[in-house]
């Protein structure tokens, strides 16, 4: 061993060997995970003790549960007759099952309608949620579902949702037609639409200003704060009065000016068309059709919706509306155009800075103030608008994070290939940004779904409202507590846990970056 060999040549290949079998075994696992060191062991024993205490306490309560009783008193009698010291009165769930699910005003003979709508929801959601496994053509059902569900839950004439659907399709058609008009025709159209939109805006401003003036007089009476508010309202209305004609002219001119390029003209024309159709044609046309071929379900007013159904309605509608709105807001916030950017920033910051409860109160009380007196703006619709705005602001911020996480090179590559703004956003930016944003969006969606129970504070009878009001305050089930809230917690947990599981699955499906 005098001198070390530096040169070395491998004479034979080392054959590949299978990886070593991981040394498994329950004992080894336990030693490593539960009893590694005295501190770990102590924690394990403590945890076992706490779990044990809980089980010893809760299990008899569950096990002795009474499922068949007409009131809390009857239930307690049954328990004491059997000599049990503890026991749950699950009978309340049986007794008030319908109320918990549908509220106490929904007509009992119509329970099948929301139930059917719920089952159909599963089928409608599948093509959108599991796009890889469900053929694309089923998306048509997803598109039709809102109209079907609306009709099933609210009832009334089938012609109303059909006419709304027709109006939307007609608007899409108009959009296409205007998009493909030649410049001359579009110029004429832009003139007409611009004039109409300008007039319309001027008129709206005028109306709004008058309304504000009127409000300023009515709030003026209440002390210093009232005077301040009144002054603010007065200032706002004077501002609007001064600007209503110039703004109208400006908007009209801007639309006319855009005729060459056409984007704005197309959008405004389409919006105009759908507004006219919904505001002026919907009720006469659907009424006339219904007179010829009546297809009706018993109409249920929004006030009568309640129970878990109300939470599900608010949850699904608001989530599915606030994601697109959030995307638009997030993109708007990134926009180079100062006006659009400003509007989005103000909206997001304002809505995020206000508690949801305040917004709900606004929906309940204030919106009615601002609406023309005769208009009867549906309460659920108002609540939906508020919750959607609220969660859209949060989702917008989540998506903005996703957008910011994309390297600038992605935008540049899309640009350098000649993709226009819409294409690069739709094909390159959003798919990646949304993928990054999934956990955040799901977080907001789950939070939103649970927040739907807040509507109980504006005296809507969602599942929590039902429990706090009609159930806990009834003579039969007075001050029943654990059983009902446990039930509410459970139904929310089922949905929220499913959403979370789905999102994790989706993230795995979309993982293509192999980091």
């Amino acid at each position: 061993m005098s001198d070390t060999e530096l040169a070395f040549v491998r004479s034979e290949e080392i054959p590949p060997a299978p990886p070593p079998a991981s040394e498994a075994g329950a004992v080894k696992w336990m030693r490593e995970n539960l009893f590694a060191g005295w501190f770990n062991t102590l924690l394990t024993i403590l945890a076992i003790y706490i779990i044990g205490r809980f089980v010893v306490f809760a299990f008899p309560w569950f096990w002795n549960g009474v499922w068949d009783a007409g009131s809390i008193k009857e239930c307690r009698d049954i328990l004491s007759a059997a000599g049990k010291t503890t026991g749950a009165c699950f009978a309340v769930l049986v007794d008030r099952w319908d109320h918990l699910l549908f509220g106490f005003k929904y007509p009992a003979e119509g329970y099948w309608r929301p139930t059917l709508a719920f089952i159909m929801l599963i089928f409608a959601a599948a093509p959108a949620l599991f796009a890889q496994y469900v053929p694309r053509k089923f998306l048509i059902f997803t598109g039709l579902y809102p109209f079907i569900a609306f009709w099933l839950v609210w009832g009334g004439s089938l012609w109303v949702p059909l006419c709304i659907l027709a109006a939307i399709l007609a608007t899409a058609y108009i959009f296409r037609v205007v998009e493909n008009l030649d410049v001359g025709a579009r110029g004429v159209l832009a003139g007409i639409v611009g004039a109409a939109a300008g007039l319309g805006l001027a008129f709206l401003l005028f109306q709004g200003a008058t309304e504000l003036w009127f409000i300023s007089n009515s709030v003026g009476a209440g002390g210093a704060l009232g005077t301040l508010a009144s002054l603010l309202f007065k200032a706002a209305s004077i501002f609007m009065f001064v600007f209503f004609i110039p703004m109208g002219i400006f908007v009209g001119y801007a639309i006319y000016n855009d005729a060459e390029d056409g984007g704005l003209v197309t959008v405004v024309t389409a919006l105009f068309a759908i507004y006219v159709m919904l505001a002026y044609l919907l009720s006469p046309v659907s009424g006339a059709l219904n007179a010829i071929i009546p297809i009706e379900l018993q109409a249920v007013p929004s006030r009568d919706m309640g129970g878990y159904m109300l939470c599900l309605i608010l949850g699904t509608v608001c989530v599915s509306l606030s994601i697109p709105l959030g995307i638009v807001l997030a993109l708007g916030r990134q926009s180079n155009m100062p006006l659009i950017k400003g509007v989005c920033v103000v909206f997001i910051e304002f809505v995020r800075g206000v508690p949801l409860i305040t917004l709900l109160f606004v929906a309940n009380v204030m919106l009615a103030y601002f609406m023309p007196p005769q208009s009867n703006f549906d309460l659920i619709l108002r609540v939906i608008i508020m919750i959607t705005m609220f969660s859209a602001a949060y989702i917008a911020e989540v998506i903005r994070g996703g957008l910011a996480a994309l390297p600038k090179g992605q935008y540049e590559a899309a640009d350098s290939l000649g993709l226009n703004y819409t294409q690069s956003i739709r094909l390159i930016i959003l798919p990646q940004a949304l993928k990054i944003s999934i956990p955040g969006i799901v977080n907001v969606a789950v939070g939103l779904f649970k927040d739907t129970t807040l509507v109980s504070v504006i005296s809507m009878f969602d599942i929590v409202g039902m429990i706090r009001g009609p159930i806990q305050q009834s003579t039969d089930w007075i001050s029943i507590y654990w059983e009902v809230y446990l039930f509410a917690a459970m139904v929310f947990f089922v949905v929220c846990y499913s959403i979370s599981q789905y999102s994790q699955w989706l993230e795995r499906q979309l993982a293509t970056d192999h980091k």
């Binding site: 090179g409 540049e412 590559a413 290939l417 000649g418 993709l419 226009n420 294409q423 990646q432 970056d513």
Partner: protein, 256 residues
Amino acid sequence: MAEQAIQMQVSDEIAITISKMNKWYGAFHVLRDIDLTVNRGERIVICGPSGSGKSTLIRCINALEEHQQGSIEVDGTLLSSDLKNIDKIRSEVGMCFQHFNLFPHLTILENCTLAPIWVRKTPKKEAEETAMHFLEKVKIPEQADKYPGQLSGGQQQRVAIARSLCMRPRIMLFDEPTSALDPEMIAEVLDTMIELAEEGMTMLCVTHEMGFARKVANRVIFMDAGQIVEQNEPESFFSNPQSPRTQLFLSQILGH
């Protein structure tokens, strides 16, 4: 690489005209009085110290950066703020980036067919055939169904070149296409670019690969502090640089 320079016919037709172009980042004057005319079929290599404005210059040509003064005309279309013109120019001018910028959520094939389908409105099948043709050309047809994250750097850059070529551009811009790559991968990307040059593509290439410049370029441009300091055919440029700044730069990069 063989030291034999490519002999290509440069036509009289003008591909790019840049005149009196100035650009500022805020108060910082990045590009100063740039005058440059590129004929069709020319292969131009741009070099210069870091921060001299090379990237900015070629990014101005396809309007990734906006210039404030002077004019740029590409294929007879004047670059202005008109979006239609910009989109037209971008679909005629291909670009490769230092960091490839492939779309990680799309397969290689989808990366290559995206722009033809959406910008050129090519039918999907035809676009896929074209894409496979160019992927074969850059020698990685077998990777078509993989995602960019599964490829090596050199392969990714070749895909990026193929992706640009699928738009059938008349001009290609390269911004340090090899500087993020390992030596072995540099060779495979340069080979692809040489092949492209041999087919007569008009190329503007920011690179410090001087071997490539000697072999492929018919003109080398040296930039410093936002100005074109010197331009010449490669042989004279390397053997007989005129300006002291060029001499310094060349001695630094060829010195070791």
